[in-house]
Amino acid sequence: MKINSIEVSIQKLEIEQVEGTLIMYDSISKKIIVFNETASFVWNIVTESERTNDNINTCEIVDKISQKYNVSEIEQTKIRNDVEEILKKFFDSGLFQPIY
């Protein structure tokens, strides 16, 4: 699948969801990653797209979040910033790995 036109593979980790928070465990590095609610939502959107073999981009993610929470245009700008930050963290931490 592609995220923002970048071909990526998503790291397969053990995942549990508790009250909207995603908790992931990398059994090789023994690291635990806890996402906040927004990051959990972004992760769910991306992995759902991967499951259905669709590509996705930041705008589509922001739209989905805006629809769910019924947010104003001003708030959308903030959400966009958050989503960009979250996707960057996913790439930086190796959860999303670009395929070259």
């Binding site: 053990e14 549990e16 969801q17 508790v18 009250e19 928070t21 908790i23 465990y25 059994s27 023994k30 635990i32 806890v34």
Partner: protein, 450 residues
């Protein structure tokens, strides 16, 4: 090394060998048996921390506790919290739920790390009486159970109560709780003397009815008897009364009064008599008496930890294994440490906030006791003991610390003497070391079966 009759006890290897052995023989034995390295490992970890400024890392836990209120309908004459009524600080449903959801997440981390799915253990105790605000209590419990169920988290609920409950309250607790501890002081007259209500009215009848109900409806029931020094001599009568009245399947846990809260003044006055009130002897005699009369029953005391441990205290912030939510909405690592609590976070506007750093008095004492107690016969079993109790005794200038320490040492000397004469004692026994090179020296190893 410690001499027990004709044997020497080597605590680093948990072995016993004859005192009469020459140095070369002892060296040969030691060379063939690996030394336990947990002391050095833990020492290195402990030395790396500055107890005055510890970085808080609230991580995985599988146990947590909630102290709903400091209010209580009883005025027990030794209450360590001096609980009464009219305290304004009390948790609300939202506070407890916020805390429990955070704990549920930490339980999930534990599940990942251990690969095991033991139930999340959630305990309700005091401070005051957890059931004091019954309408809140009966809302909270089903809400927590529902939340855990929705998230697929197995839950085990426990409670310590004073037992002043009516029929519908007893039914509710029996339905929802997996482990129950009821405080009852062994004999009706002692219960009525120690654990009376505001107007000094008697409580034995109601509490006995509660225990009777739970003993018929709940498999895991413990009676906790807190006992004043001058009542130690009634321990056998208490044992007979409790097992006759409530059956042999209950657990009876005995705790000598500790010098805090309402007990402090009297303990200070009477502490010169502490050694005369020998808890250990009365305890051992009671166990022996019950064993002869009824067979082996479940009697215990938190004073004598009964296993080999690598760490005594999970309440110091760096090893925190259980989080506690208090009525003032703070999160602490230990419920027993009274004014010396290590506060690591709080509930603020329905969110859990953990602090970045804390000052940990308990860690400071633990570091100190860890080295000081290294050469004690009981060291492998108590690792310096409870840091909160040490600190309280020191600050309050009581002699309870020495008293407790000397009892624990005597307890282990007693256990070792018995197992070396071929008996089994509190689950402990010795087995011969089967290594060919040292087989002829009849070295014995400490072992335990539950």
């Amino acid at each position: 090394m410690h001499n027990i009759g004709e044997y020497t006890y080597d605590p680093d290897r948990f072995i016993f060998y004859k005192n009469s052995f020459e140095t070369e023989v002892v060296e040969k034995i030691c060379n063939h048996l690996e030394k336990n390295s947990d002391y050095e490992e833990l020492k290195e970890k402990l030395e790396n921390y500055d107890a005055h400024e510890v970085n808080i890392k609230a991580g995985a836990v599988s146990r947590a506790g909630v102290c709903l209120t400091n209010n209580c309908n009883l005025r027990c004459n030794y209450c360590s919290d001096t609980s009464s009524e009219g305290n304004k600080e009390s948790l609300e449903l939202e506070d407890v739920l916020t805390f429990v959801i955070d704990v549920m997440k930490r339980w999930t981390m534990t599940k990942f790390i251990t690969g095991k799915e033991e139930p999340l253990s959630l305990y309700f105790t005091g401070g005051g009486e957890p059931t004091y605000n019954w309408s809140l209590f009966e809302k909270i419990i089903p809400t927590i159970k529902k939340k855990c169920k929705e998230n697929g988290i197995p839950l085990s609920l426990g409670i310590t109560t004073n037992g002043m409950l009516d029929d519908s309250q007893r039914e509710f607790i029996a339905e929802h709780f997996d482990t129950i501890m009821v405080s009852y002081d062994g004999l009706p007259e002692i219960q009525n003397k120690n654990r009376h209500s505001t107007l000094h009215s008697h409580t034995a009848e109601v509490v006995e009815k509660t225990i009777k109900f739970f003993s018929n409806n709940k498999p895991s029931l413990t009676i906790r008897t807190t006992i004043w020094q001058d009542d130690f001599e009634h321990m056998k009568d208490m044992a007979d009364y409790i097992f006759d009245k409530f059956g042999n399947s209950i657990e009876w846990s005995i705790l000598p009064v500790i010098p805090t809260g309402r007990a402090l003044k009297r303990i200070r006055t009477e502490q010169k008599n502490l050694r005369e009130y020998n808890f250990l002897n009365f305890y051992l005699e009671t166990i022996e008496y019950i064993k002869l009369k009824r067979g082996s029953l479940n009697i215990s005391t938190p004073i004598f930890p009964n296993s080999i441990i690598s760490l005594y205290c999970g309440a110091i912030s760096i090893f925190c294994s259980c989080l506690w939510l208090l009525p003032n909405k703070t999160i602490v690592t230990c419920i027993e440490s009274r004014d010396l609590k290590t506060t690591i976070g709080r509930i603020e506007k329905n969110k859990v906030e953990y602090f970045d750093k804390c000052s940990d008095h308990l860690l400071r004492v633990y570091q100190q006791k860890f080295s000081e107690c290294r050469n004690c016969i009981a060291y492998r079993f108590c690792k310096g003991g409870c840091p909160a109790r040490h600190l309280m005794n020191k600050n309050l200038k009581t002699e309870m610390d020495d008293w407790e320490c000397s009892m624990i040492q005597k307890y282990w000397t007693y256990v070792f003497r018995h197992i070396l004469s071929g008996e089994k004692c509190f689950g402990w026994h010795v087995v011969p070391v089967e290594i060919d090179e040292i087989k002829d020296y009849n070295v014995l190893k400490l072992d335990r079966t539950e």
